[in-house]
């Protein structure tokens, strides 16, 4: 991961009140540079409000937000926003501008030279899998929902911001497209080393994308942890319910076969046992073993035997309340 580019973001006891409603209540957490922090929680828990206080679309009632140690309230909002990528669910693409013009928005505001803008637009269009030759001059109305979302992401990344804010960017597309967009986005984020604050109410999306997951409830931060830890040790009943009764299974998809201490190889039992690779997730391994009705599987890296994986071992990983 290119650690250098991303910004560090710190919330310090940030509160937002609307009259008697407390939308966000003394929120404190730090997002390390180059990581994805996912804010997750039920509707109305304050995710969007928290996100929009970072680029000052909303002003906090009290507390402060620091980007690389700088208080955002000390900066000119317009200049601040041009340094932060912003993606929303409805995409907010400009209907009267072509795909290329939409992507070029912030570079234009920053006064980049024409040639540099055009190079950047073409580069981004290729990155998001849209053929510049064919798509550059299209208007948003001529794109599919998934293509629009991708243009929205490309537009937010155009001026190489160290920080991106994304508010349910993939919520409006069907599950298959969403999965593809998520994978593409992860690839881009890892390649560019951008810090991301990502809002969703989908816990599976949070677990898949987050380096850290912030679970919110009624304006409070309930738990802030890497996804594996969230699944293994939910802070309370609310989090446990929110991550789901299948959290053991969910955790299996975060763990790989290679990460388990394998049993020594028993050549007598090997015949007919399914073969797994160490990079496979435990969830996929379980599926393979169940479908071939095997108690045991052989783990091989290329031609090399690494050991055996048993159903009992996977079962132990499932009982996640005990430290793994």
């Amino acid at each position: 991961m290119a650690e250098s580019r991303g910004a560090t973001v710190e919330f310090r006891s940030v509160t937002k009140r609307y009259g008697d409603t407390i939308a966000v209540d003394r929120l404190s957490f730090t997002v390390p540079a180059g990581r994805i922090c996912v804010l997750v929680g039920p509707s109305g828990c304050g995710k969007t409000t928290s996100l929009r206080m970072v680029n000052r679309l909303i002003e906090p009632t009290s507390g402060e937000i620091l980007i690389d140690g700088q208080n955002v309230l000390a900066e000119d909002p317009t200049q601040l926003r041009r340094r932060i990528g912003y993606v929303i669910q409805q995409t907010g693409l400009f209907p009267h501008q072509t795909v290329a013009d939409n992507i070029a928005t912030v570079p234009r505001l920053l006064g980049w030279p024409k040639e540099r803008i055009q190079l950047r637009v073409d580069e981004l269009m290729k990155l998001i899998g849209l053929d510049p030759g064919r798509m550059r001059r299209r208007y948003p109305a001529q794109l599919s929902g998934g293509e629009r979302q991708r243009v929205g992401v490309a537009r937010a990344m155009a001026a190489e911001p160290p920080l991106m804010l994304m508010d349910e960017p993939f919520a409006a597309v069907d599950p298959i497209v969403r999965e593809r967009l998520q994978n593409e986005f992860l690839r881009l984020q890892r390649a560019q080393g951008i810090t991301v604050i990502f809002v969703t109410h989908d816990i599976d999306e949070a677990i898949k994308l987050g380096d850290r997951v912030a679970v919110m409830r009624l304006g409070h931060l309930v738990q802030y942890a890497p996804p594996g830890e969230l699944l293994a040790r939910p802070a309370d009943d609310f989090v446990a319910k929110f991550v789901g009764s299948d959290r053991g299974l969910k955790r299996l998809s975060l763990l790989t076969v290679g990460g388990v201490e394998l049993a020594p190889l028993d050549r007598a039992k090997l015949d007919g046992a399914p073969v797994l690779s160490p990079s496979m997730s435990l969830r996929d391994a379980l599926a393979v073993m169940l479908s071939s009705e095997a108690q045991e599987a052989t783990v091989m890296e290329g031609d090399r035997y690494l050991g055996a994986l048993t159903l009992q071992q996977i079962g132990r990983m499932l009982r996640v309340d005990e430290p793994a």
């Binding site: 929009r52 680029n55 679309l57 317009t78 200049q79 601040l80 926003r81 041009r82 912003y86 929303i88 409805q90 995409t91 907010g92 693409l93 400009f94 209907p95 009267h96 501008q97 928005t105 912030v106 505001l109 208007y139 109305a141 001529q142 537009r155 937010a156 804010l165």
Partner: protein, 217 residues
């Protein structure tokens, strides 16, 4: 009309060609001035109404009252102050454009989707840039609908200003009534109808050229 007289005497039209084109020019001038001045005033008032929503109702209300005053009554009221002049004609004509223009500018800009405005603000557009680069272009289709109605209304009303000595093609209508002579009457009436149709068509073409994104799918 004398019996046996043809409905249109082409020889009259031929011998008055110069005057007809002069009156068409006059009609065009009165119309263009009215719509352009109306647009400038309407934009000013619409921006005020959008900035200060409290003033929105009084502004559209006043424009609405102006719109309901019968044109003859308005001219009769103005003549003692501004005489039988172009100014009198234009004050009347401009007043009638305001309601439709202000209303369409306001509703066009209010109709810009809030996610578009939100994204623009979030990416670092200033409020001024949002108005000029996002809201106005997106409101253009609705504003143009207003301009078309205002233009057609004005072309019709210009004929009435013949009564105060202006009037473009309305002059021929008046002449035809005074002389009891159908040819100038028809030249005036059909001329202004044709003018309205052509002007409307031209505005449609201009709007299409300015808003290519509205003709997709």
């Amino acid at each position: 009309m004398t019996p046996g007289e043809p409905l249109i005497r082409w020889d009259w039209i031929a011998s008055h060609a110069g005057e007809i084109s002069l009156r068409i020019g006059e009609h065009l001038e009165l119309t263009v001035i009215a719509v352009v001045v109306g647009l400038v005033i309407a934009f000013g008032l619409a921006f005020v109404a959008l900035r200060l929503p409290a003033l929105s109702a009084p502004i559209t209300g006043t424009a609405g009252i102006l719109y309901t005053i019968p044109s003859l009554a308005l001219f009769a009221f103005l003549v003692p102050h501004t005489g039988l002049s172009v100014l009198t004609a234009e004050i009347g004509l401009v007043s009638y454009t305001l309601l439709i223009l202000i209303r369409n500018i306001i509703s066009g800009i209010r109709g810009v989707p809030s996610d578009v405005r939100d994204a623009a603000l979030g990416m670092g557009y200033t409020p001024q840039q949002i108005l000029w680069r996002i809201e106005l272009p997106l409101a253009l289709a609705v504003i143009f609908a207003g301009i078309r109605v205002a233009t057609i209304t004005t072309i019709g009303l210009v004929t009435v200003t013949a009564l105060i000595g202006q009037g473009g093609l309305g002059y021929f209508i008046l002449l035809g009534i005074q002389l009891f002579f159908s040819t100038p009457l028809l030249v005036g009436a059909l001329g202004s109808i044709t003018f309205a149709v052509v002007a409307d068509g031209a505005l449609v073409l201009v709007q299409r050229a300015l808003t290519p994104w509205t003709r997709l799918r």
